[in-house]
Symmetry: C2
Subunit: 305 residues, 2 copies
């Protein structure tokens, strides 16, 4: 007899469905969210807004699609080709259309009837921002506030590994000292916020899931230089807690790519921090139970003041 795993991913997913928090989809990584799930997600996102309200961030909002050239330009196909989504479309006429419909009816492939478009799915909400920062930044740099949908091509039945999900993100562009100080402030704020929400959260250095053999070196380098941190909460595993919040220091990568200068004349440095809104929400349900009415009063007060 095997001991019951309190972090079993399938049991967690089934519970989300049973409580109508998740509306099951028909393909892995894509599913609907119910009213109560959204109430928690929006409550948390509003709480982040209140915490950041004195920072005078500029709000920008971008669609879940971007110019494919942007994905090429930022090096996404170099680092994460396996996670990218590229949009293809049908450009044929009546004859090709008849062919297309016949193939769909017969359950045959129809990929070759489509053409690559100029559009990709947005892999991180910050990518479209940098082109808007080109030029010389003001004295204190700039801070941008973003919420949006992102795409990661890693279909999985595991509920925290979604193909499409929302991020609440802040992007800081300035000189190195200012950017690092901002990143450090949010490292404390982010961890503190999650602890106040009663989550067993821990901060750790991290690395991205870079592609291929060369990617292993990039990941090791990122860890060595402490360029990425994550806040982790156990959701579907006690040993491998889930990243619900991450901090990335890009050094001058985007400053160079998009010709952004700090006020001191040097190439601007950038950093971003983001909450995975669905993962945060799932962490709350895992920790406090599937019925929000039974959550601790202090938590409810923070989410819905």
């Amino acid at each position: 007899m095997t001991a019951h795993d309190p972090y079993d991913p399938k049991e967690f997913y089934d519970n989300l469905v049973k409580h109508k928090l998740v509306l099951p989809g028909t393909t892995p990584g894509i599913f609907g969210r119910g009213a109560e799930f959204e109430k928690v997600l929006l409550g948390f996102n509003n709480l982040v807004s209140r915490i950041a309200s004195d920072d005078s961030a500029e709000l920008m909002l971008f669609p879940p699609c971007v110019d494919r050239k942007l994905i090429e330009k930022v090096g996404y196909m170099k680092s994460f080709p396996h996670l990218a989504g590229t949009v293809f479309s049908f450009c044929g006429h009546d004859a090709q259309h008849r062919d297309l419909l016949g193939r769909i009816q017969d359950g045959k492939p129809w990929a070759d009837l489509l053409e690559m478009s100029d559009i990709s799915l947005t892999p991180a909400v910050c990518y479209p921002v940098y082109g808007n920062l080109t030029g010389t930044l003001p004295e204190k740099g700039r801070l941008v506030d973003l919420t949006g949908w992102v795409y990661r091509h890693e279909p999985s039945p595991e509920p925290t590994r979604m193909v499409s999900f929302r991020m609440r993100e802040f992007v800081r562009a300035a000189d190195a000292d200012t950017v690092i100080e901002w990143r450090n402030t949010w490292k404390e704020r982010g961890l503190q916020l999650l602890l106040e929400l009663g989550l067993p959260a821990k901060l750790d250095t991290a690395s991205d899931a870079f592609f291929g053999r060369g990617g292993k070196m990039l990941a090791a380098n990122q860890r060595d230089q402490q360029l990425k941190f994550e806040v982790l909460v156990p959701v579907i595993s006690a040993e491998n807690p889930t990243a619900v919040c991450s901090f990335n220091y890009h050094q001058d990568h985007f400053g160079k790519t998009f010709d952004i200068k700090a006020a001191n004349g040097e190439v601007a440095q950038t950093a971003c921090m983001a909450f995975g809104l669905e993962r945060m929400t799932m962490a709350m349900f895992k920790t406090h139970g599937f019925v929000t009415a039974q959550w601790p009063e202090s938590v409810k007060k923070l989410l819905w003041p």
Copy 2:
């Protein structure tokens, strides 16, 4: 000398950019939205929520991506193949990855290195709903409240014709009488709401942009049967006002496809109504000017009570 066209699309777009309402993109139909644009959009969406607050709609939320099989199942590739977006992804290893990067560097096509995935872009926020209604509906049917991003592959520099935009939508499923009565209530409500916001709005019968030669017949049929209505406001043309709101009566199309039964045992009928949130917002800026502080007090009170 040509007379100045007060509805010139390019001038309207340039004004949106000048006032930081729109953050220009690098490919047609994809652009960012600024803080003031979002303030109007959210103000309007909240106003719709208040108007619908006594309707007891169930909230559901879906990502901007769906199962490709759903797009096939609902007949979207039959009616609107030219507007669909299908996601392709890279499934190769290190050698193919080197090839991919070489081609991107040389500006050569790399479409053939990708494979069709199981995922499509969501063309209308209501499609993922119907699978959640399968079975027999309660006595009064069901009403679902949705907000989400949709994709239409019609890249254009014309600002109201976006590739990616948001819809606020309601879906009603019940017996025919109930559905038609609900549709008629919203026809009045929708027009009334826009008139109260000071927009020169008009209701008209309409048809969808069905594909190809066969599509012309479908569109004529849709008009004859008065299955589609739109509320129109002049934004980039006085002669061809922009649809900012539409009402679609699907009869038993989705009821049959998803095996939804009304409480009376018959195949359920469905209808939906949706506001194009970006188009509504643009109609407001076109009508009241680009500076919200100068808008009529009555309008500001409705948007930000």
